[in-house]
């Protein structure tokens, strides 16, 4: 067996050629209709077709060569590395970590605090708008959502496919209450969280008896119900038009960011007018909210309720035998997760100044869940890394104007954003099924805290 794993061995190469050809044939038939034929509407608006043999050939070639390389070179290489690792006998989680590794959290936090200033210094005010808003705030919103969902999925082991519903409840709570009653952001932020938590309880109460995938579909259904109600209850929510002109957050009521007010932030500090100050302020607000989520999660894990969540995830029957009330335990997890979703929603509404049901589709739930799982369920660091990679990666794609030079002026990288996102989800899962961070820190331990492999933690059955 060891002989055949060597690269360049005739058997492996022959097998790779065979598999490559096979993949090519399969790809030819798979893409024959969908890539080889293009359907489009002509001037008379009737549907017609034309062939695209060149593109089909590219697809087939990529499949064949990709399969050839995987079987012939990549797979033997990975096998050899695994073998070497197994032989050396070193555990995957070693105690010797580099300086960067040990102080990763501190470095990351310092970087985040300095980030807006670094961006202002390097690219100036106008350039910072993009870096602070599109990258910083956007990623941090997803970090917060994913950390919130992590309480439900990662700690309590309940599969929630409709998390975006609570995000929507938070966003609409802020949007509606601020535009109808004129309450301020700082009053409505906690209220949105509480309302979302209330919805979490309302939903959770009847359905938490369900297990596993039944719970998943009901949460999905609940997410869709909320979205459909938002679309159809036009008297209140203005339907698909959405609510615009949502009030901006103020600096704790001291300074306002609305232009023309007497206590305008820019005027008070004698700065030149620019919207970048508001963005920087929002960046720190969402950063603080994220830190709050992380702090609460870490503290809760050490409290009886957090221990109960994790116990529930590992073994529900044992939990019940030990007298843990599984219904209230699940409900608190659901409500806590929902509350953070609500906070994030209120923040989202004030940042955008506009909410519409478009922002709360199932795809968002899927993206948030994907971030939680790709990062490694239960690991806050891993989830943050996954959010940076997945959300930041797709944002970077918007910026890739140079690709137009390579693929011609008609090429719009925007179109391929979600396609690549989906591919990345699949590829990361195939190579790291336990997520980016494969180790967990236990909260209960004997003598010293040792990281355990993520594969020892269960994912729960709902």
């Amino acid at each position: 067996m060891t002989a055949s794993t060597e690269t360049g061995h005739p058997n492996v190469l022959a097998k790779a050629v065979r598999e490559g050809l096979f993949a090519g044939v399969i790809a030819f038939f798979m893409f024959l209709l969908f890539v080889g034929i293009e359907t489009y509407q002509d001037i008379n608006n009737t549907l017609v077709w034309r062939t695209r043999w060149g593109l089909l050939a590219v697809f087939v070639a990529v499949a064949a060569v990709g399969r050839f390389l995987t079987v012939g070179f990549i797979k033997p290489h990975i096998d050899r590395r695994k073998l070497a690792k197994a032989k050396s006998g070193v555990l995957e989680i070693s105690e010797n970590k580099s300086f960067f590794h040990r102080h990763f959290l501190k470095i990351a936090l310092i970087f985040l605090v300095l980030y807006p200033f670094l961006s202002l210094m390097i690219v100036g005010k106008q350039g910072s708008l993009k870096y602070v808003d599109n990258f910083g705030i956007q990623i941090l919103i997803y970090v917060m959502l994913a950390w919130g969902l992590n309480i439900v999925v990662g700690l309590a082991g309940l599969l929630d496919l409709g998390y975006v519903a609570f995000y929507a409840v938070g966003a609409y709570s802020y949007a509606l209450l601020s535009s109808y009653f004129g309450f301020s952001f700082w009053l409505l932020l906690p209220m949105s969280g509480i309302l979302a938590a209330l919805w979490g309880i309302i939903l959770g109460f009847p359905v938490l008896r369900l297990r596993g995938d039944y719970l998943a579909i009901v949460t999905l259904a609940f997410g869709e119900i909320i979205r459909l109600v938002l679309i159809n209850w036009t008297d209140v929510t203005k339907g698909t038009f959405g609510i615009s002109g949502i009030a901006k957050a103020s600096f704790f009521g001291i300074w306002s960011f609305d232009s023309g007010t007497t206590n305008n932030f820019v005027k008070a500090w004698g700065l030149s007018a620019s919207s970048v100050y508001y963005k920087v302020f929002l960046f720190y607000v969402i950063l603080a909210l994220c830190m709050l989520t992380a702090y609460v999660t870490i503290r809760l894990r050490r409290m009886p309720i957090g221990r109960a969540w994790e116990a529930l995830r590992e073994d529900e029957i044992a939990c019940r035998s030990l007298g843990i009330n599984t219904v209230t335990t699940k409900l608190t997890a659901f409500a806590t997760g929902a509350m953070f979703g609500g906070f994030a929603g209120a923040f989202f509404a004030t940042r955008q100044g506009f909410v519409s049901p478009e922002s709360f589709v199932f795809l968002e739930s899927a993206v948030i869940l994907a971030i939680v799982v790709l990062g490694g369920m239960g690991s806050l660091t891993g989830i943050a890394i996954a959010a940076v990679v997945m959300v930041g990666g797709t944002e970077v794609l918007r910026e890739m104007a140079f690709l137009k030079v390579v693929f011609g002026p008609d090429f719009t990288p925007e179109l391929y954003r979600m396609l690549l996102f989906g591919l990345a989800m699949i590829i990361v899962m195939l190579f790291k099924p336990r997520g980016f961070v494969g180790s967990r820190e236990p909260t209960a331990f004997l003598k010293e805290r040792k990281a355990v492999s993520g594969s020892f933690t269960k994912e729960g059955h709902g």
Binding site: L33, F34, I37, V207, L220, I225, A366, L419, I426
Partner: protein, 300 residues
């Protein structure tokens, strides 16, 4: 009364389509215990395959008989989606079979995103209308039944019979049922488990392709994001009927179709999906494993 019967017929037609897709969900769930989120998009691919076959066939043979054209659309669609689903299972699900439960779910969601965006990129984001294929209409009293509705119900019934026969009367079906009950034991007794699972995916995809082609024939339009809403409804149908149960899937599909058409007829069209999902939640509260599902046995 006539109005009610009319709505019943419409609901039955829609329910047949949902039922066919739901079988794919329920079979895959039964055999490997995963929610195949990409199944709705396989349904969409089936619709697109039928659309492209329709365009090619009508441009080469202008006077092609409708029956032959329909048969061609169905067959090519079935082969196409069967091949796709086989490949998807090989590439994205099989390597994760021994892994933890959420891993294949995430790749399935990823696959669903990839498939719909793949079609959006290669075939364009606009709706694709085709001229009506079957236009004949029957009148019985005040009730109108269109030939396409009859066709949909008949094709569904025939397929369900063939499918029931395969699962219950053939060695392949026996292998499938054995794999569903206990994969390890089935493997020990000489069932080729990998092959059985692959065939299950191909069969599910073929049924979804038929549903996709009939959806195209019924509504006359295909779009890259057609997979999501019918997919979720079919999955709802499978859960409502009791996931893992084949009669349950068909029953759930018909039920969802009826709820949808009756609700839009008597209450409001806008809230028909809300009604569907609310009824799902309501039923699951009282029967946590669906209407025809087996009660879950808890083992320590």
């Amino acid at each position: 009364m006539e109005y009610f019967i009319q709505q019943l017929i419409n609901g039955l037609t829609l329910g047949s389509i949902y039922g066919l897709v739901a079988i794919g969900y329920t079979m895959v769930y039964g055999i490997i215990g995963m929610i195949n989120f990409a199944h709705g998009d396989i349904f969409m691919l089936g619709g697109f395959a039928a659309l492209i076959v329709f365009l090619i066939a009508t441009s080469f043979f202008a006077g092609i008989p409708i029956a032959l054209l329909l048969l061609l659309m169905l067959l090519v669609g079935m082969l196409m989606t069967g091949l796709w689903n086989w490949t998807i299972e090989r590439v994205a699900y099989r390597p994760l079979r021994g892994s933890f439960r959420l891993a294949p779910l995430i790749t399935a969601i990823g696959m669903s995103i990839v498939l719909s965006n793949f079609i959006q990129v290669t075939q364009g984001p606009r709706n694709k209308p085709i001229p009506p294929l079957v236009t004949d209409v029957f009148h019985i009293g005040d009730i109108t039944i269109s030939l396409k509705q009859v066709l949909i119900v008949i094709i569904t019934a025939v397929l369900l019979f063939a499918f029931w026969y395969i699962v219950n009367k053939t060695p392949l079906g026996r292998a499938q049922r054995a794999t569903e009950q206990d994969r390890k034991m089935a493997a020990l007794l000489g069932v080729d488990v990998d092959r059985t699972i692959s065939i299950t995916f191909i069969m599910g995809a073929a049924l979804a392709a038929v549903a996709g082609a009939m959806y195209l024939m019924y509504y006359g339009v295909a779009s890259f994001n057609d997979g999501f809403i019918p997919g979720v409804k079919a999955f709802t149908a499978a859960v409502l009927g009791g996931i893992g149960s084949l009669p349950g899937a068909v029953f759930g599909g018909l039920l969802i179709g009826l709820i949808e058409s009756l609700w839009s007829a008597y209450f409001s069209i806008a809230y028909k999906d809300v009604a569907t999902f609310a009824i799902l939640a309501f039923v699951l509260i009282f029967k946590p494993t669906g209407i025809l599902g087996r009660p879950e046995v808890e083992k320590v």
